[in-house]
């Protein structure tokens, strides 16, 4: 049966112009959606291909030769990579801890007080974010070379491995992370409702109590957000580590760069996939923690 039921309401015949306009609008919407899909493909395809070829059963990163996890096995057996991984984690944890404390204190000073020199401090706090990392890297390289401090190493035993981490790397990571933590915590402070703190002091809580019991818990999402950002930036950093490490010290990105310079193999793809998984986990954690918080991730930018 192909009977067409006629609409019961009468529709005014569409004028030609408005019909053309409607089709144009539909085409524009369709075009925009298609473009959006293409744009996201552009962002994701290279990463997906990278992960796929980490499972390739050959040395090629361009011709598929079957599924294999051999490159992951080889990665796990490469002591250099394992040490680099622990170096990365150690540097990230220590520098995040320091920069979170310093950045949070600075954010409170900047957001809660008006004082002389505040604008100058504002500029100084923003500079490490704006300045290109290559400039910051050579600044630190020169500084450590001249002052002689920093290239001493911090020796520790971690997971049965002997690490020796140059202080210079940690110092450099803290130097760029303080500002990022301060920005995130300030954003939180600016949106925070102050009535609770006022209520606390009305109820004769002293300043210290008010801070511990009211301000700090309310500020926590901002502090954790800042710490997560610092941790990610520290793990991801290549340029500043590369220039401040001195010879012989590798974090995972520095190690990967060295491997790339020697030649492309799916082993690098495997290490990259591992790092991608790590970043993905961090993003998911930060989203999980931000649940119920109405502000989006935009603020971090």
């Amino acid at each position: 049966m192909t009977a067409v039921t006629k609409p019961t309401t009468t529709i005014l015949p569409e004028s030609r112009a408005s019909r053309q306009e409607r089709i144009k609008t539909q085409l524009a919407t369709l075009g925009l959606t298609g473009y959006g899909i293409l744009a996201y493909l552009f962002l994701y395809l290279p990463i997906i291909i990278l992960v796929i070829f980490s499972f390739n059963d050959s040395r090629s990163t361009a011709q598929w030769a079957g599924f294999s996890t051999a490159w992951y096995v080889e990665m796990m057996q490469d002591n250099q990579i394992i040490i680099s991984l622990w170096n990365s984690l150690f540097v990230a944890i220590v520098s995040t801890a320091i920069s979170t404390v310093l950045g949070t204190l600075a954010a409170m000073a900047m957001e809660r007080y008006r004082f002389r020199g505040r604008l100058v401090m504002d500029a100084i706090l923003y500079l490490p974010i704006i300045i290109p990392d290559i400039a910051m890297a050579i600044m630190l390289l020169l500084f450590f070379n001249i002052s002689g401090i920093g290239f001493n190493t911090w020796r520790i035993e971690l997971a049965g491995l002997r690490l020796s981490v140059p202080y210079s790397v940690i110092i450099g990571h803290v130097a760029f992370n303080i500002s990022f933590v301060a920005v995130v915590v300030r954003a939180r402070l600016a949106h925070m409702d102050r009535t609770l703190e006022e209520a606390a002091s009305d109820l004769y809580a002293n300043a210290w109590h008010t801070f511990w019991r009211v301000t700090l818990p309310m500020l926590m999402p901002g502090i954790i957000g800042g710490a997560l950002l610092a941790f990610t930036l520290s793990l991801d950093d290549f340029v500043i580590t590369f220039f401040t490490a001195g010879p012989g010290f590798n974090t995972l990105p520095v190690r990967v760069f060295g491997m790339i310079k020697k030649g492309v193999t799916p082993k690098i793809n495997a290490v990259s996939s591992l790092m991608l998984a790590g970043s993905l986990a961090l993003v998911l954690i930060s989203i999980f923690l931000r649940r119920g918080d109405d502000r989006g991730g935009i603020e971090i930018v």
């Binding site: 991801d236 991608l276 991730g297």
Partner: protein
Amino acid sequence: MQAIIRRSPAIRAWILLAPAVAWLFIFFLAPLVIVLIYSFLERGTYGGVVWQPTLENYRRVFDALYFNTFTRSVYIAVATTVICLILGFPMAYFIATRPQKIRNSLLLALMIPFWTNFLIRTYAWLTLLRTNTGLINVTLLSLGIIDEPLPLFGNDFAIILGLVYGWLPDMVLPVYAALERLDRSLLEAAQDLYAGRWQVFRRVIWPLSLPGVVAGSMLVFIPSLGAFVTPAILGGGKSLMIGNIISNQFLAAHDWPFGSALSMLMMVFMLVATLIYFRAVNREGGAGL
């Protein structure tokens, strides 16, 4: 003593600031000043410096070899910014016009590359673009679409592609933030007044999104001009940018003063370009800003 601290907010603020400020003074501002001073000194015979003030380092920047690299870097950074804007604006608009739920997922999908390692995203392109063993050329050759590998690698094209890929989210996010704040009733008002699609864009959407465009352009332009990783990996060792020349002065040539001068000029150039850009956009934006 305690009474003074309690009474003076300024002192309390400085106590809170002291650790961060101390760190940044010693490990950020002092290094910056050292680079500035070094850029005016003479190079020592075996690395290091001679304390003899000179402008020679700055003059050398204008030697053809270095100056060409400088202008090429500026060209690459500008091209990257423009392409990111052309690709990123409709992307931001696409996200901003989706329903809330989809919009959140799309934003998340944009944040993930933003949080992933830049080096790895660059490496991903290396495996695609390499001349004889890259996925694109290998596939096209085996399908018989081309007879000769395409020159996709080791040139400005590869560097710009890598930079666009790396920094595109930095353009999309601020533009999206501006578009999201945009008042829909303004668009309807414009349409009611018979503004065509182009006019709505030119007169309403564009001026109101300018703050986002400016922020995004800066977030793309500055790291592109100072790029080091992308040209080092995708430039194939010959297509170099200013960041690589700077790094060579410190790691290979041991000419610290010249490397310092190059970095100072790069930063000053970024500052000046930013200021000029802000002014131009302010004029363009008029009442929109």
